[in-house]
Symmetry: C2
Subunit: 443 residues, 2 copies
């Protein structure tokens, strides 16, 4: 060929989902979906592209400035591929504020792109489920969101020892930093960025970062002390009342009442990267020593629609991405092998039998919900056809030659069991169904 061959590699930081990868992804999201639907959440979805401005306004500098895939369309509109769902759903809520019946329990499953330096657990394109309650400021929403988190973890077989929900509150954080460290609002914001990255960098880098921001050695010492303290100890340092502390008190009381407090713990270092959080913030941590990291998280944002209209709609929710969570499930051996099995039937063909006979057999099986492939290539010997079925991990093969068809039977071969049966035409479908639900991995 004269022209140069193109690369078969996908774009850096993205993934090709071959059938086994897709079986995993479908299993993962359908499990999450079944839990959130049990809690009455409704699914929505948003466009892939949004105007650049909605990220510039709310997502924070790291996202909008460095990580956004943005470009001009032919009419010079500045667009961006969504890096997260919250601004899109905020727009959708704002657009129908007068007709939607609040509170809303909404979720979505979608892909997002960020210009990251790809590394373990961080890709440029990832899939994420977003779960939110909109239109209520009550702490019962926090409780409900935590109940959904617990329900998801339980659905995957993760027991209480494997994860912990670490909770803080942005107002509380801000009050503590401003009162105890005597920091001004600009400093508070800068300190929150450093605290958010604390777990990912060395103590030296962290201290150097804070120093560069103009935070004094005394303030850094106070911050270290606070970060290691209990909620009550930190609260006692506040001179005046804190709305954030009142919210945390109320939340902890609800968690106690409903038995969820065992899953949760206060953690002053939880602040979350997005600028839009205004109240409760939380992250779900793996407790495994191999993987002490945040699996997913979320929080409350009171000014959800404020960039679109002058109304107040409070929201709380979380985003759960597929990449980090797959790692968690793998470490805890929570991905069942059975999700990669498929109870399919392969129908072989003989050249001297009309094709219609095999289409009829396939239709009979499909009518009972059994997936069937009819052999496509016409010329091969039976052994080659069965070999192909085996390579493709079909558990069961149907063989119907001139003799079987004349006798009103079909031969059925179970490949792993290496057994062959000859069954009457009137009963082979139900017998195959029983064979397939036998449940042994045929590979």
């Amino acid at each position: 060929m004269e022209k140069q061959a193109l690369s078969v590699n996908n774009y850096k930081g993205t993934r090709d989902f071959y059938p086994d990868d897709m079986l995993y992804r479908n299993w993962f999201f359908s499990k999450v979906k079944s839990v959130v639907e049990e809690y009455g959440f409704e699914e929505y979805n948003a466009p892939l592209l949004e105007s650049f401005e909605i990220y510039a306004a709310k997502s924070g500098e790291e996202i909008a400035g460095e990580q956004l895939y943005s470009f001009l369309d032919k009419k010079n509109r500045r667009l961006a591929i969504r890096p997260e769902m919250t601004p899109s759903v905020a727009r959708m809520v704002a657009a129908k504020l007068d007709t939607l019946v609040f509170p809303l329990r909404w979720f979505s499953i979608a892909n997002f792109m960020r210009y990251e330096n790809p590394q373990k657990g961080r890709l440029r394109e990832h899939w994420q489920v977003n779960v939110d309650i909109f239109g209520s400021e009550r702490m019962e929403c926090e409780l409900e969101i935590f109940a959904v988190v617990a329900g998801i973890m339980r659905a995957f077989g993760a027991d209480k020892s494997m994860f912990r929900i670490r909770v803080n509150n942005r107002k509380f954080f801000n009050d503590v930093i401003s009162q105890v460290l005597e920091a001004d609002p600009a400093q508070v914001k800068l300190i929150s960025k450093a605290v958010d990255k604390r777990a990912k960098i060395s103590k030296e880098s962290y201290d150097a970062w804070l120093s560069e921001l103009g935070i004094s050695a005394k303030q850094i010492g106070l911050l270290d002390e606070i970060s290691a303290s209990s909620y009550e100890a930190i609260k006692s340092k506040l001179e005046s009342g804190s709305e954030g502390a009142a919210e945390l008190d109320s939340l902890f009381s609800l968690l106690d009442q409903t038995g969820f407090s065992g899953l949760c713990e206060f953690d002053f270092s939880i602040v979350r990267g997005f600028d839009y959080y205004t109240g409760t913030v939380f992250e779900v941590y793996d407790t495994s020593p191999e993987n002490r990291r945040s699996l997913f998280g979320g929080g409350r944002y009171d000014n959800l629609v404020s960039m679109f209209r002058d109304d107040a709609v409070s929201g709380i929710g979380f985003g759960l991405g597929d990449v980090t969570f797959q790692h968690f499930l793998a470490i805890h051996a929570l991905i069942p092998e059975s999700i990669f099995e498929s109870p399919k039937v392969y129908v072989t063909r003989f050249a001297d039998v009309p094709l219609q006979e095999y289409y009829t057999i396939a239709a009979e099986l499909r009518a009972q919900g059994i997936p069937v492939c009819v052999h496509l290539l016409g010329e091969e010997k039976l052994g080659k056809q069965v070999g192909l079925a085996e390579k493709k991990r079909f558990p069961v093969v149907v063989i119907a030659g001139v003799d079987e068809l004349a006798n009103g039977t079909v031969a059925v071969k179970h490949l792993e069991m290496k057994q062959q049966f000859e069954w009457k035409r009137s009963e082979y479908v139900s017998k195959i169904k029983a064979l397939l639900s036998g449940g042994k991995d045929p590979r």
Copy 2:
């Protein structure tokens, strides 16, 4: 507010999917998915972004030149948001050519972006299922694909009178144009573009277009004559043998043998817009006088992986988009109202009952697979809570006050039937389950 409010409108040609829109989309794709899985097709998925070159190489000028959303990333890689799936899946097949077990039956459900002028049935972002068989040149693949098409139409309740599969063959088209019109290869390609658009423009524009391409009046007359002729009549005009005619003969014979020929008809004007088709091409048409248009289509492409490596892999498949097909289903009244119903239970709250009691009731119902929302706002009177449930289209409301809990009962209200029951705690879950499966639309 000092800053200017951002627009709540989504980007032109894209859609927000509110919960009812999403119920439709999920219903649509899950129905298609269940059919293709019955035929043993496996799901895959590809990244949102690909290198620009793979579209430039294969998709044709209209797509790559005018309709692509493409841009440079920070390392000056020219990327494009996928406008279709075929180049991506070709790349994936090429990347694992040595380990994949052919033939492959693959499908995907994904969104695509094209810079179109939005109009009825054409948006800038649309969702599409792609169904393909890779790695076999046999006409049985065509038959299988047509069987899947018929299966999908049947699954939506579309009977044989509502649609027709119109079939042609690119090689046959090229042979006819080059032999009968005495056109050179460049002219053949240009003529195919005009024929592809014939149904969308006036006869005058069509003739003017062909004239501009240097097609003589005599050739245009011949083309008109051919376009109105039967397959046999056109074939008889060929002087030498045509591989395309042999393929069509073989396909028509298979369709006859298996009873699918009643769904199909030859149509010389079917050529399909993409440059990569090399053999069979087809489009599924609505037969309704209100909507005589192509619903979806596909074809065979022999050089699937040739831009990536020097191997031959033939493929055949189709793409079925959500926008045009929704219009078809609506015209034929094939969208059941029931897809917008949800058998959910709303649990009301009294301020003097511990929240935990309601969480227990919710857990009891969820354990039986019933979706439940517990009332989030704490202060409202019962009437207001029931009103909210009604507005949110919950069919059933649970009421459990101090008295009911003391008596070991719960009150259950069916909102549409306007009936209230008081059931024992031991039986209310199964009674609610029966009530919900009663099946009347509670709105």
